[in-house]
Symmetry: C2
Subunit: 316 residues, 2 copies
């Protein structure tokens, strides 16, 4: 692990003498990232742990484990708690999605309180590949195929977070070797407790199967594709007109190429706080643009609707 | 099969009273397409069959079978022959790729002789999904993820071919039903004889496995993703500066966003008759742009090279 170009880019763009948040579940990956950063002389880290309350006692034990570790490394510690199961039910989300949303909310709070808006996360190359495959299988279109970026910004609860993933080009086996080499202790379940059944299947069955059948470096190829898709995504998103307006003008939308119509609709829906819409919904909204469209209403999750009236498309 | 919107779009854009080529291997898919078009009153079809000479006698039997069928339907027939194995060895290509190139050359010849530049091909939705997965696994980047288009143009041997694939949104099972319903005869091996081992694995093992594990409509989702990717591809390709110049200016390339650098290199390499380059080669050529690049030469297949000298990148 620890290829010198990963290290030198990181220390150049995010100097070790500044303050950063770091998300630490207590699992293998985040424990390795924390250790690696400490070794690179990142001394002002703030270890952030969210108790997801999914496994009662062992969730509490995870939190205590991470707190102790922060003490050992002499860095600050932020603890949060969220009842992810309740949140998932309330918002009709999967546990995995609800857990992610809860973590980002928690990071946003910590960022505000600590006046420190940059967060390190331990996602690695295998995470990226799994996410790619899951999004492909779920049919999220090319937006979902773009790799999670190594550096990105994300607005959560009115806080602009900068998310940095130093391990995005590092493979799980390299992290394993690092953990073994440094004899790091970690909580066995901590990093897997929020995995959905689909992600588990991608990790433990689909990718190993593809490697067995194809006999090439499938992971590496998917990783590259995702990285390219991310660069293109970046470029396309910048080309999509902004959409702070609550209405979408049908005539403007119609004038865009198909690829941009889809992006514009997605961007607009997100701005209206409609997230997690799939290809189906976007295509139905897009069909409202059709001059001969007989349908003027598209159903959204949570009893909301997109309607077309008087040359405008809006959510109600 | 035979959804009315597929039919009405086709007959609108390609009126049945004109002349068209149609590629017919004698296999299930092309037999169904031929029958379907004849039923839609496409009377001036020219059935084109290339004998790939891969299976000796049975290849000849395929050719005779297709010739008879053309007679039965009272449409014209064009027969070609190519020694695909020799071609593959000579050009260091896979059998699948060599067979495809041979077919396009044959279509170009037929198009010239018959003064008819539009060719119908029987690729269907499953072909599209398999191609997507293979390209993903092979790591061709997002360029390879774009679905083959339902209508496209292709310049082959100085002939501009228009390729039309009416069945691209039709599934193999629908074609099977159609063939059964109309009791069509076909040559069992004809359509599969040029399948590479990789494509066979994608068709017969990987996709069924994904469907079993995920338990959703994996095919449908991949199909959609590929269609979206194609629309975006279309749009991106149009944004890439043209490259008829044999040299690529380093300063110009450097000024482009990363996504477009890759496309510009790919487009330029293709214009220099360097095809089938993977992500690796493109990234190495792209590294020549780096100010601090110590390498000034990148190896290409068939003993050719890309070099950087005096602010220019060229092939030699």
């Amino acid at each position: 692990m620890n290829p010198s170009n990963v290290r030198s880019r990181l220390t150049r763009d995010f100097p070790p003498n500044r303050r950063y948040l770091i998300g630490v579940s207590g699992g293998r990956d985040s424990i390795a990232l924390l250790h690696w950063l400490i070794n690179l002389d990142y001394k002002k880290l703030i270890v952030c742990h969210l108790n997801h309350q999914l496994r009662a006692r062992s969730s509490d034990a995870d939190a205590r484990f991470v707190e102790k570790l922060a003490k050992k490394y002499q860095v600050d510690f932020e603890l949060g708690a969220a009842n992810v199961r309740v949140l998932a039910n309330k918002k009709k989300m999967s546990i995995e999605t609800a857990a992610r949303e809860a973590r980002y909310s928690f990071f946003a709070k910590a960022a505000k309180r600590r006046r420190c808006h940059t967060t390190f996360l331990a996602h690695h190359a295998d995470d990226l590949v799994e996410t790619f495959l899951l999004n492909l299988i779920r049919g999220t279109g090319t937006t979902g195929l773009a790799a999670m970026p190594d550096v990105s910004t994300r607005r959560v609860d009115n806080v602009d977070l900068t998310i940095v993933r130093p391990f995005l080009s590092v493979w799980r086996t390299e992290i394993d070797d690092y953990v073994d080499e440094h004899r790091l202790k970690f909580r066995e379940d901590a990093s897997n407790k929020n995995l959905g059944p689909m992600r588990n299947r991608a990790r433990n069955r689909i990718i190993p199967y593809l490697e067995k059948i194809i006999g090439r470096n499938v992971r590496q190829n998917i990783w590259r594709t995702a990285i390219i898709a991310a660069d293109e995504e970046n470029w396309i998103v910048n080309a999509v007109p902004d959409s702070t307006n609550p209405d979408l003008l049908v005539s403007k939308l119609r004038a865009l190429p198909v690829a941009l119509q889809r992006r514009a609709i997605l961007k607009w829906l997100r701005a209206q706080n409609i997230s997690e819409v799939g290809f189906e919904v976007i295509e139905r909204v897009r069909s409202l643009v059709d001059r001969e469209a007989s349908i003027a209403k598209v159903n959204l999750p949570q009893d909301r609707h997109v309607r077309r009236r008087a040359g405008k498309i809006f959510v109600e």
